[in-house]
């Protein structure tokens, strides 16, 4: 039975595109009714000027793809990474090719709806090039080409039903990725790198919000718990506060991650698209692309656990969309104004996100008269300032942001030897590398412990500002990215209009500058993340370009490859979540439970110390939540990932005196249980069985109880520690004066239990060592429960800006 006439007509229409010529020909060969003249039609249609134009566009697109690869990589190899390069591209060659492309585009004058086909042809080059086989690629080749072809074929087969199937795909994807995550987790908590730290911060916020920052005596004899501002933990906390307050976060943390990554992020993109009045198809595509933006995205989210950054990045498109609406619309509704206040405030809680909005602010300033005509604009601005200025100023003061920005950088390999190395030489400690997973990004080797004379070492080393340096950063980011996001970006931007096009273009260029050049200038700001934001933000314009492809009546080479890449991206992300990529994701293993149990059982009333340098040794994450898991105070080099070089827990002055000094330090800190995970430290404690009794071993951690420890938190004076919590120390004195073995800070106060008024004590610091000061109490009431805690945030703010009480550190 022959094909229906309608169908034949459909195929005739399809003959305008080169790819369809081939399909037409093949189909015609199979179809009895048209086979006689199919070849004739194919060749005759190739003489059609439209066909020649399409072929030229295809060729231009392919040259664009090749030139982009040459510009980024410097060479093009086909298929496998190990293949010999076929083309080399110096600046001159890339420049000449670019000139040729400009000429071709000038001559062809492609229409708006033809622009995505240029990117489609570029995709073909990318498909064949070794780009897909590079190790840090999101789409992990060479096998991924099979998935691209498979899904491309499937998409073209189901082309008439794409409007029905795309929403199904968009709904299916978050659930599929959630399933992958649950499967990977297998009931265990996500524990990679900073994830336990983030979990710890959320738990602390649940207890103390809004009284932040505060004094946390459970870590390192008392620390200033203030990193909620810098890390953006607050936005995640506020966003998911119902879940955090109503459930046991230690059990539901994974759900929070899933909600954030697989539902909130695409939801935010969808909402941003709708605010910009994009079609539902475009918005659905944008949300789909946001889920598959880059490997770096999941690296920051799942491996590094920087969820504040992720939340702010997800909110950024909404903020930009609302900003554009303020500029474009005559009367913005109240709900959008209210949403602006909420979105901006939440976004700013990860402070570097403010940098992203600079182009928007600059353009808004230029269009100030327009803004003033908006009914809700003044109120919105005032509310945003009222909500954010207080905490930003407090953050600026307590976190010493200005000094952080001016911190000199440590050039890797230039460190001078320090005295504590003597001790290490005695222990035959060899030069070691900090096994930081983040260091894979750029800096791998850092040197051994150093203290006061050291320069600060950050994740990235300072590099000279060169074109090659910037290009390298861009190339690394694009290797990680979904190819659709950068190949369809320019057509996508060109398909936008008005303020949307302007603001998106300028913001994306600004992000590009920050992520490439800015990261070289201020490495401590980790501005390379701006490229991750760029890729996430690019989802919207790219979705606009892809939707124009999907809205075409006929399938084409572009739609074949685009759909192939799009769906393969989803499965690639699934594979990343299933821990089958170069990005390792670790989950809480039994070791964590066992260590917690050991601390609970053997620590007694004293502190537990982790010797050496502990970074990702706690089931792939940081030790931060251990005090909350055990209820015991802990000492370690650092609870969080703020050290980028080996740093010993024992201060230099104590290490110099070797065993005696270490013993003295342990006494000083009232340590009753010692954990050692580094072989040399294990050997050190094992060699002194009279002083340290080995209780057991959990994985690489050996733990020892001390034969004699002070069993008192009073260095001078006497009294009793009633309890230690994450926000205060409750104690009772038997003498009015005393020195507590807790770190002293200028913002501390002693109150009577339950009250907020000072108890009448005079607080001062007792300098023990260069970096160690204990709390000294004078004239305190005796035999009454007292509480050592931080003053309220308002008082700290007043002290910082209005004086009265000394400056913050």
């Amino acid at each position: 039975m022959g094909r229906s006439i309608t169908q034949s007509h459909r195929w005739d229409d399809a003959a305008s595109l080169p790819f369809m010529q081939v399909v037409y020909c093949l189909h015609g060969f199979m179809d009895h009714s048209v086979r006689a003249n199919s070849l004739l039609m194919f060749f005759s249609s190739c003489r059609d000027p439209r066909c020649i134009r399409h072929l030229l566009l295809l060729l231009t697109g392919m040259i664009i793809g090749g030139t982009l690869l040459l510009a980024l990589n410097g060479e093009i190899s086909w298929w496998e990474e190990s293949d010999a390069p076929l083309f080399f591209g110096g600046l001159v060659r890339v420049g000449l090719l670019s000139l040729g492309i400009v000429g071709a585009l000038w001559g062809l004058q492609p229409k708006r709806d033809e622009l995505p086909h240029l990117s489609g042809a570029a995709l073909l080059i990318l498909f064949c090039a070794e780009w897909l086989s590079l190790p840090f690629s999101l789409l992990q080749g060479p096998s991924i080409r099979g998935e691209i072809l498979f899904f491309g074929f499937l998409a073209v087969t189901c082309w008439p039903f794409r409007r029905m199937l795309l929403p199904i795909l968009v709904v299916f994807t978050p659930f599929f990725l959630s399933w992958c995550f649950f499967r990977s987790a297998d009931g265990r908590l996500l524990f990679s790198d900073d994830n336990p730290t983030f979990l710890y911060r959320l738990l602390l916020l649940r207890e103390h919000f809004p009284s932040i920052p505060f004094y946390n005596p459970l870590w390192n004899a008392g620390i200033d718990a203030r990193d909620f501002f810098a890390t953006g933990a607050l936005n995640g906390f506020l966003l998911f506060s119902p879940l955090i307050y109503l459930t046991d976060l230690l059990s539901t943390y994974n759900i929070l991650i899933i909600l954030l990554l697989f539902f909130f992020v695409p939801g935010a993109l969808f909402l941003a698209g709708r605010i910009l009045r994009f079609s539902p198809l475009t918005c659905a595509l944008a949300s789909l692309l946001s889920l598959t933006s880059s490997l770096l995205w999941y690296r920051w989210a799942l491996q590094f656990g920087t969820l504040g950054f992720i939340t702010s990045s997800a909110l950024l498109p909404i903020v930009l969309a609302l900003g554009i609406q303020f500029l474009e619309e005559r009367h913005l509704p109240l709900w959008k104004a209210a949403l602006t206040v909420v979105a901006v405030s939440l976004m700013l809680l990860w402070s570097p996100s403010g940098l992203v909005c600079i182009p928007l602010l600059a353009i808004s300033l230029c269009a100030l008269p327009k803004l003033f005509r908006q009914r809700w604009w003044p109120l919105t601005t005032i509310l945003i300032l009222a909500v954010n200025v207080p905490w930003i100023t407090l953050f600026w003061s307590v976190s010493n942001v200005s000094s952080f920005l001016d911190t000199p950088h440590q050039e890797v390999g230039e460190q001078a030897p320090s005295t504590d190395e003597l001790f290490y030489r005695d222990l035959n400690q060899e030069e070691r590398t900090v096994q930081s997973s983040r260091s894979q990004l750029s800096v791998g080797t850092v040197s051994r412990p150093r203290f006061s004379e050291r320069k600060t070492v950050f994740k990235h080393k300072k590099e000279p500002i060169t074109f090659d340096g910037a290009r390298k950063r861009l190339r690394e980011a694009l290797h990680n990215a979904h190819p659709l996001l950068w190949l369809f970006l320019v057509p996508g931007l060109l398909l936008l209009s008005g303020y949307t096009r302007l603001i998106f273009t300028v913001t994306l260029l600004w992000l590009l500058g920050l992520g490439t050049v800015g990261a070289l200038i201020k490495p401590q700001l980790e501005l390379d993340r701006m490229l991750v934001i760029l890729l996430s933000l690019a989802s919207l314009p790219v979705a606009r370009a892809i939707s124009s492809v999907l809205e075409e009546k006929r399938s084409s080479l572009t739609s074949f490859l685009t759909c192939g890449f799009l769906i393969a991206g989803i499965f690639s992300v699934g594979s990343v979540i299933l821990n089958r990529s170069v990005v390792p994701i670790s989950f809480q293993d039994e070791e964590v439970e066992e260590i917690s149990a050991a601390v609970k059982e053997h620590a007694g009333e004293g502190r537990t110390l982790f010797s050496g340098f502990i970074l990702h040794d706690f089931s792939g994450g940081h030790l931060a939540p251990l005090p909350l898991m055990t209820g015991k105070p802990i000492l370690a080099s650092s609870p969080v990932h703020n050290l980028w070089s080996y740093q010993q827990i024992f201060p230099k002055s104590f290490l110099e005196r070797e065993s005696e000094g270490i013993q003295e330090y342990l006494d000083l800190m009232n340590v009753s249980l010692v954990f050692a995970h580094e072989p040399k430290w294990r050997a050190f404690f094992e060699r002194q069985p009279l002083l340290y009794h080995q209780v057991g071993r959990i994985g690489k951690f050996s733990f020892f109880t001390r034969s004699s420890s002070p069993e008192s938190y009073f260095l001078e004076g006497s009294g009793e520690i009633l309890s230690q919590s994450s926000g205060s120390v409750r104690f009772r004195l038997t003498e009015p004066d005393g020195v507590l073995r807790f770190q002293s800070f200028p913002f501390l106060t002693v109150t009577q239990e339950g009250g907020t008024a000072p108890a009448g004590c005079h607080l001062s610091s007792r300098q023990i060592d260069a970096d160690l000061r204990f709390v000294a109490l004078h004239g305190c009431p005796t035999e009454v429960p007292l509480e050592l805690r931080a003053v309220s945030p308002v008082v700290r703010w007043k002290r910082s800006y209005l004086g009265g009480g000394g400056s913050e550190e």
Binding site: M1, P142, S143, L149, W179, R580
Partner: protein, 606 residues
């Protein structure tokens, strides 16, 4: 009429039974083992992973009862036979539904079934999946709508419950049916398709349990290298720590059946094109052509390209499909369905040609029977007949529960391929395996060396180089390249129990195949060769994990324990390769003078 109906159901079954009776060896080709008087048989020829994970009744029980049957071994033992009978009955049912009641059709079914079993042996995976397919196809031909719906629904459910991978088989048919539908039925069929897809998705997501994988080190392997760098991992579902499907064996075994199917499909298409005035492809043919094309791309292309072909892609995308080889499933299904279209005589000729008259003397079944000690199908049969069983409990002592449990674990693990390769006995599998082996210290300044070495003519043999502890110096065995026949013979005054050859930095220069003979003197080469063991292709040395699972070590390192200590060891290279056979370092372990090491004594006591 009635007798024809009976015949259609019975004839294939009878022929299958006859086939079973006359080819007892074939039924249990891959593994036969005796445990406490019980016989266990399985076929794992292309898949190192345990096939009962995909077993028909286990899956069905799991699907309906929500839990696994208590003893999977019993299912493995009986279900494959039962599924074969189901397959035969299903084919009969399908043919009857199509109105074909000619004897010829029954003969075609019987022939294809025999071929199917000859090719696969008792492969629970494939039999379980394919046995429901003819029921589904037959159900589509039922004329009563309600009955048809029920039959199609239940056979689909059974097909999917057998394995999610079965979706590969029935989805193309559904799509083909759907694309042909017009008018009001299109919506209903669309709904049906959507429901089927949802069912498959639900099943995929809920029924893929984590199988047991032994503690293999990442440097080990259990299947032949497929020639592609790295290890491809699935995008969804379970990912084994090392590859489990032997792609090389699979392609070798399926090459001719695939070729036959493609030729058949082309001829069929060619004749139907000229014979009928209807459009090509006809209804129902397109999915078959599609599957044939998929099979061809998978089997006939080089692995680097086959990796991106549809079947391998399907394997990576669909959960649990990564643990089986979809090509075997598709090939089986196509062979079975081919019986409906082709004349039995053509079938018989094609099967005969495929099985017995293949140039090169390596019929596909040899892939199933691949063993270093047999170089032909006939020899393998003889070996099986002579030995009675392939894996023997030498002492005939009844094994205790602990030993039995250990053996079961090892047999039904991906290590089975290694057991098969080395013809390991129960004694070896149950023995404790030392992780650190001691070799005698041979130094280049020892004069003379306690070894006498001889090699094939034109070898660059400098004995000192072999013991200089340098990986960048080598000895070349033979003229250069590997042409087959190069040999190295090691002779010593003291009996040796183990030898280790390392190519050092020349890691491509390992022997591609080995013949290892032991005896008293190198001069008696014929005698040494007479009892020699064959390891071709050379896969790697035998190692055991801490939990006693055997695996292949690094392919470049030749490390061979000898069954009995010997004063002369002959290593003869058997294959042809571009690279030299080079040895950078040689180590030997001498047996103790008392002839009985502590390890051996303890084994004897055991």
């Amino acid at each position: 009429m009635m007798y024809r109906y009976c015949a259609f159901f019975c004839f294939p079954g009878v022929l299958l039974t006859l086939f079973y009776l006359f080819s007892a060896d074939i039924r249990y080709t891959s593994v036969v083992t005796e445990l406490s008087g019980e016989l266990y048989a399985l076929s794992l020829w292309s898949n190192a992973f345990s096939p009962w994970e995909e077993d028909l009744f286990r899956r069905v029980v799991h699907f309906f009862a929500g839990r696994d049957p208590s003893d999977p071994l019993h299912f493995a033992k009986y279900s494959s036979t039962l599924s074969s009978i189901l397959l035969a009955l299903g084919l009969g049912f399908w043919h009857l539904q199509r109105g074909s009641t000619h004897w010829r059709g029954a003969a075609g079914i019987a022939l294809s079934l025999c071929f199917f079993h000859f090719l696969y042996g008792i492969n629970a995976t494939n039999a379980a999946l394919i046995c429901w397919l003819p029921w589904l196809l037959g159900s589509c031909w039922i004329r009563v709508p309600l009955l048809r719906s029920i039959a199609v629904g239940s056979s689909s459910l059974l097909l999917v419950s057998a394995s999610p991978v079965a979706a590969l088989l029935f989805l193309p048919f559904f799509l083909g049916e759907w694309s042909e539908a017009r008018g009001s039925t299109r919506g209903i069929r669309a709904l049906g398709l959507l429901l089927a897809l949802l069912l498959v998705c639900f099943h995929l997501l809920t029924s893929t349990s984590e199988p047991f994988f032994p503690d293999y080190p990442p440097t080990g392997h259990i299947v032949t290298d497929d020639g592609v760098a790295g290890f491809t991992r699935p995008l969804t579902g379970i990912s084994p720590p090392i590859p489990v499907v032997n792609r090389t064996a699979l392609k070798e075994a399926l090459f001719f059946p695939a070729l036959f199917l493609i030729l058949g499909a082309l001829l069929h298409g060619f004749f139907s094109y000229f014979r009928s005035a209807t459009a090509f492809p006809t209804r129902g043919t397109l999915p078959l052509l599609f599957l044939t094309l998929c099979l061809a791309l998978d089997v006939l292309l080089p692995e680097a390209l086959a990796m991106i072909a549809p079947l391998e892609t399907f394997r990576r995308v669909v959960p649990s499909a990564f643990l089986i080889a979809p090509a075997t499933l598709v090939c089986g299904a196509l062979l079975v369905t081919a019986s409906s279209s082709l004349h039995p005589l053509i079938l018989a000729l094609a099967f005969g040609f495929t099985m017995f008259f293949i140039p090169g003397g390596r019929p596909p079944l040899l892939g199933a029977l691949a063993s270093p000690s047999s170089d032909s199908l006939v020899k393998r049969y003889q070996s099986a007949k002579n030995n009675g069983i392939l894996l023997r409990n030498g002492s005939r002592k009844k094994l205790d529960e602990k030993e039995l449990a250990q053996l079961r674990k090892v047999f039904f693990s991906p290590s089975f391929a290694v057991i098969q390769y080395y013809d390991l006995s129960m004694r070896v599998l149950l023995a404790p395996h030392p992780t650190h082996l001691r070799y005698s210290r041979l130094r280049h300044h020892h004069h003379p060396l306690p070894l006498h070495l001889s090699a094939s003519p034109n070898s660059l043999l400098e004995p000192e180089t072999l013991v200089d502890k340098r990986f960048d110096t080598r000895v070349r065995v033979g003229r250069g390249g590997q042409r087959g026949g190069e040999f190295l013979c090691i002779e010593s005054e003291q009996a040796m129990k183990r030898v280790r050859l390392t190519p050092g930095d020349f890691f491509t220069d390992f022997p591609r195949g080995l013949l290892v003979g032991t005896g008293e003197r190198c001069a008696d080469k014929k005698e040494l060769l007479r009892t020699a063991k064959r390891y071709a292709p050379w896969e790697g040395s035998l190692h055991f994990t801490d939990k006693g699972f055997p695996y292949f070590g690094h392919q470049a390192i030749v490390e061979l324990p000898l069954e009995k200590p010997a004063k002369a060891i002959l290593l003869q290279q058997t294959e042809v390769a571009y690279f030299d056979w080079s040895i950078a370092e040689l180590k030997v372990a001498f047996a103790k003078r008392a002839h009985h090491s502590e390890e051996e004594k303890s084994l004897e006591r055991k």
